[in-house]
């Protein structure tokens, strides 16, 4: 551009000089100066035109042609508002939906975790494949080994759990994490206020300093800028707030709850005056994360770690028996955060991409129909000398313009509906980055629009200029140039559309069936009319101040709670349990299992899911007893410890013998044995998907809740008012101890549905996309059949005039539509057979090639096709032979 301006400047001077020279020549030849100048100017010609012509030399011809094409395309689109509206709307919905899903994918899968150099961050998982245990947690000595190994810059431990936050108007629970002091240095995140923990801090026990989240700061402290140095009472211990983390900071936890931690305290993972933690005493539920030294890849770190593990195994053969096959695995942190959601998200993106593609095919079809109507125009332009290249670029420009306008409209819709859409996303979908319309997302939308435009622009463009000119020009009015070839292309497009729709509908059908099966799965317990309300017994750092520290202290409180709860209106049954006893809570508490007579095997004890409950728990949930007995009031704090197991537990640990009367320990340090007294039927209390997870129950009176299980859950059955009951219960709980929070009231039915939220989300989304696809496919076939009917009006008129039955005409038209639909369905079925295996991991209870789904969906699609064809077919038989014959 600069060059062009310089050249033009030079030109002005050159022209001036040229005329001067010519004038001088003329004067030299004897002309009078005025006459000489006039002659020179005349001889030079039109100065403005010379300049314009020269400017054109330096202009970008293609750019100007593009401008011309765009102007022309705009005019064409304005001239056909109906067509433009339909096409733009189709594209807008396609691009809008695709971009919306992409923004989800962007926030979860594509964005790096919001920590400094996130690619160096890993989660360290201890596995004991020999005893079939994964991610069993890390012991404190192992942690120290890793820190000294030289492989990592930092290794940090974190334990999770709620704490009671008192001091505000109502005691509340806060999501809490105890972390090693180097945790924030490891993540490389700075607080918005104050400071983080000193990574070199070696204080044993708790440092009594906390960091709080932006959310808690705003919620509990009204964003008080003077919060630093203020005290906070967590489980009756006073902590000082030393910093506030920035808004949008999330803990890299694996569950939604962990990702939304509100309070972090520094934990030394060592208690003064006690024996140092044992090597084989794993901190279950503790998460170890690490930052690999710069320059080291994860694979290299893993191989160095393997060597370290081997040498430790040699050094401590007692703690690492060979049969447990202890290994330590490094998993990219990102993988552990988003791992499970990846498949669903990719499925969603694929599904929405298919919808966009179907939309494109539809618009291509519309454009093609228009192109055939415009056949004469194109032929005339070609006859006048327009190059085929120019015609193609013209049609492509129209397509791209359409898709860009559609893309913009789609983005506009998306921006308007953003708030609503974000609310649809289940909480459980892991995203540490906010879902936003970032530049990347905008770029994606632009790219998608261009690709879409190219797809549907190219189809009519390929046909342009291939038409037989003489024929096209001879035809009057509404030309049907190249109609045979275009007709074939249109039919191919409809078949494509049907095939794509079928694939999408089968995906939706399979998800729907999985979901349906899950909803109707036999739970093994009865969630109807059951509500779970939680409270939390404080766990002060000094065990001496813990008023619920021993069974003898806790059991009376439990009995009092049961007695008071029973008096509430509507309550028919009441039971208590610890946190792990809530069905489908996804927060299992695992305990190491030691079996009597098999202690040697139990050096690395297998971990089992453990809950503590009061006697009425089983009856309240409607779990059936198979053998032995359930707990009774006599199984109290003074009686010998007893346990109830489920059938899966019995099958796993006593495959041939009778478990009743067998004894076990749920902690290697326990001094006394627990006797198995009963076996209950398996219930899907752990996960809807898994039918038989070994579970063991202990009596709440005997095994006071401890550690992460300090949470107490009050189960109520009866005709309860979901709004009033928790309030009434709070009054009763706080009448016993006013310091206790009452929170998290939830009916089991809600818990059930929440545990399905991610599946429901992907099912609903894919279902919605499939419906859209069906609609588009229906519209597509309607368009083609209407076109065929209108083309054959004359022929149909003759047939009718010659006495054809309208039934036959109807059949003739429907047969054409049916042929297309069946061809599409056949292609689609083959594609679906190939593709559906990819989603096997998302299915439950149905095979990816479920014949019922395949057949049902194919029939539905063909039915819709027939319906869509029926309308133009009706029009065909209503043709008035006289009018039709005059149609020529």
């Amino acid at each position: 551009m600069k060059r062009r301006e310089r050249m033009m400047d030079d030109l002005n001077r050159d022209i001036r000089e040229h005329i001067e020279m010519e004038t001088q020549d003329n004067i030299d030849r004897g002309m009078a100066p005025e006459e000489a100048r006039y002659a020179a100017v005349r001889k030079f010609g039109n100065v403005t035109r010379v300049k314009e012509d020269t400017r054109e030399v330096w202009s970008f011809a293609w750019l100007e042609q593009l401008g011309q094409d765009i102007r022309y395309a705009l005019r064409m689109l304005r001239k056909a508002p109906g067509f433009t509206a339909v096409a733009v709307l189709t594209i807008a919905l396609g691009i809008g939906a695709t971009t919306a899903i992409f923004s989800l994918v962007d926030a979860t899968l594509l964005h790096p975790l919001p920590y400094s150099q996130p690619e160096q961050l890993v989660r360290v998982e201890d596995d004991l494949p020999g005893v079939g245990a994964q991610d069993v947690g890390m012991s404190v000595p192992e942690w120290h080994d890793l820190q000294r190994s030289g492989i990592f810059e930092y290794v940090s431990l974190a334990v999770y759990g709620p704490v009671n936050l008192t001091g505000s108007s109502q005691p509340t629970r806060a999501r809490y994490s105890g972390v090693a002091p180097n945790y924030f240095a490891l993540l490389g995140v700075k607080p918005q206020l104050g400071r983080t923990f000193d990574p070199e801090d070696q204080t044993p026990g708790f440092t009594l300093e906390v960091l709080i989240s932006d959310g808690l700061w705003k919620r509990a402290f009204a964003a008080d800028p003077g919060i630093l140095g203020k005290s906070l009472r967590l489980d009756n211990d006073l902590y000082t707030v030393i910093g506030v983390m920035p808004a949008g900071f999330h803990d890299p936890g694996r569950t939604t709850e962990q990702r939304n931690i509100e309070v972090w305290a520094a934990v030394g993972f060592a208690v003064p005056g006690r024996t140092p933690p044992l090597r084989n005493r794993r901190r279950t539920g503790a998460a170890a994360i690490a930052r690999i030294k710069p320059g080291l890849t994860i694979a290299a770190a893993q191989s160095q770690l393997d060597a370290l593990v081997a040498s430790l195994q040699k050094e401590f053969p007692e703690d690492y028996p060979l049969q447990s096959a202890w290994t330590v695995r490094l998993v990219p942190l990102k993988e552990t955060v988003v791992g499970k959601a990846r498949q669903s998200l990719i499925l969603l993106l694929g599904a929405v991409g298919l919808v966009l593609l179907i939309g494109c095919v539809n618009v291509a079809n519309l454009l093609l129909a228009r192109a055939s109507a415009r056949g004469r125009e194109l032929a005339v332009r070609q006859a006048l000398g327009a190059a085929r290249k120019r015609l193609i670029s013209q049609l492509l420009t129209e397509g791209l313009l359409l898709s860009l306008v559609g893309g913009l409209a789609g983005l506009a819709i998306l921006l308007c509906a953003r708030g609503f859409l974000v609310r649809l996303v289940p909480d459980s979908l892991p995203h540490l980055n906010d879902i936003s319309i970032s530049w990347g997302v905008l770029l994606f939308a632009l790219g998608a629009s261009l690709v879409a435009g190219a797809i549907f622009g190219v189809t009519p463009a390929l046909h342009a200029g291939r038409a037989d000119l003489t024929q096209a020009l001879k035809q009057e009015g509404r030309g049907s140039t190249g109609s045979r070839e275009q007709g074939r292309t249109r039919r191919v497009l409809v078949v494509t559309e049907f095939a794509l729709s079928l694939v999408l509908m089968i995906a939706a059908g399979l998800l729907l069936r999985s979901f349906w099966d899950l909803l109707n799965v036999s739970l093994g317990f009865n969630p109807q009319n059951v509500m779970a309300v939680r409270t939390w017994l404080p766990e002060p750092n000094d065990p001496k101040t813990d008023i619920y520290g021993t069974p003898a202290q806790e059991a009376p409180f439990i009995r009092e709670l049961l007695r008071r709860g029973r008096t509430l209106p509507g309550v028919e049954e009441i039971a208590l349990g610890n946190r792990a006893s809530i069905p489908l809570n996804h927060n299992p508490t695992q305990s190491p299992l030691v079996l009597e007579g098999r202690e040697i095997q139990s050096k690395q004890p297998p971990l089992v899911e453990t809950s503590s409950v009061t006697p009425d728990y089983f009856h309240l949930l409607g779990v059936t007893l198979q053998r032995g007995r359930l707990f009774g009031e006599m199984d109290n704090e003074t009686a010998p410890a007893v346990a109830v197991i489920n059938e899966a537990f019995a099958r796993t640990y006593w495959p041939s013998g009778d478990p009743l009367g067998e004894r076990l320990k749920l902690s290697p340090e326990d001094s006394s044995w627990t006797t198995v007294v009963g076996v209950i039927a398996d219930a899907r209390t752990e996960s809807l998907v898994e039918s038989s997870v070994p579970q063991i129950y202990t009596s709440l009176y005997q095994a006071p809740s401890q550690g992460a299980s300090k949470e107490l859950v009050i189960f109520l059955r009866g005709r309860l008012d979901p709004a009033a009951t928790p309030v009434e219960l709070r009054e009763q709980v706080q009448a016993v101890n006013p310091e206790l929070p009452v929170f998290g009231a939830q009916t089991l039915n809600d818990a059930l549905s929440a545990s399905l939220s991610e599946r429901r989300f992907s099912m609903e989304m894919v279902g919605l996309f499939a419906l859209t696809a069906l609609l588009l496919a229906g519209l597509g076939i309607y368009g083609v059949i209407s076109y065929i009917v209108s083309e054959r009006t004359h022929e149909i008129g003759i047939r009718l005039a010659l006495g054809a039955q309208s039934r036959n005409i109807l059949r003739m038209v429907l047969r054409q539509g049916l042929g297309l639909a069946i061809a599409g369905a056949a292609v689609g079925l083959v594609c679906a057979l190939i593709l559906s295996h990819l989603m096997a991991g998302l299915l439950y209870g149905v095979r990816p090639t479920d014949p019922v789904t395949f057949a049902g969906v194919a029939l539905l699609l063909i039915g819709v096709a027939l319906l869509a064809c029926y309308i133009p077919a009706r029009r065909a038989i209503r043709v008035d032979p006289l009018v039709a014959l005059r149609h020529e």
Binding site: D10, R13, D14, I15, E17, M21, F44, G45, N46, V50
Partner: protein
């Protein structure tokens, strides 16, 4: 290019102006006015270029890198742009000249077949 009526003079065929410019510049670099004069003079004033149309042609040739432009001083001490034939332009001139010869030969053969036969 020209819309002006020229009675005795012959209008230039499209593209031939480029050829004439290249041929003129073969004698050495010069400025626009001199090129126009040279074309008029060398064709015994039959070919009369509308002088202005020279300039778009010159710029087209610059763009194609067949000629280059540089600052210079004209014979009567005026600053002017001097155009110089490039190596590429020289090659192009050879190509264009032979093309022109073929074209001119072919056209005259069509127009005066008898004479041609007679002459040969």
């Amino acid at each position: 290019m020209s819309t002006k009526e020229q009675r005795e003079r012959i209008e230039l065929l499209q593209g031939t102006l480029d050829l004439l410019i290249l041929r003129t510049l073969l004698l050495g670099p010069t400025h626009g006015h001199a090129i126009a004069k040279a074309i008029e003079f060398n064709s015994d004033e039959v070919l009369q270029v509308e002088q202005g149309s020279l300039y778009p042609a010159l710029h087209r040739l610059i763009k194609r890198r067949w000629i280059s432009a540089e600052e210079g001083t004209s014979e009567n001490n005026r600053r002017a742009k001097f155009y110089r034939l490039t190596a590429k332009g020289r090659r192009q001139l050879a190509v264009e000249t032979s093309k022109w010869d073929t074209l001119a030969g072919a056209i005259s053969q069509i127009l005066r077949p008898a004479e041609q036969e007679g002459e040969s």
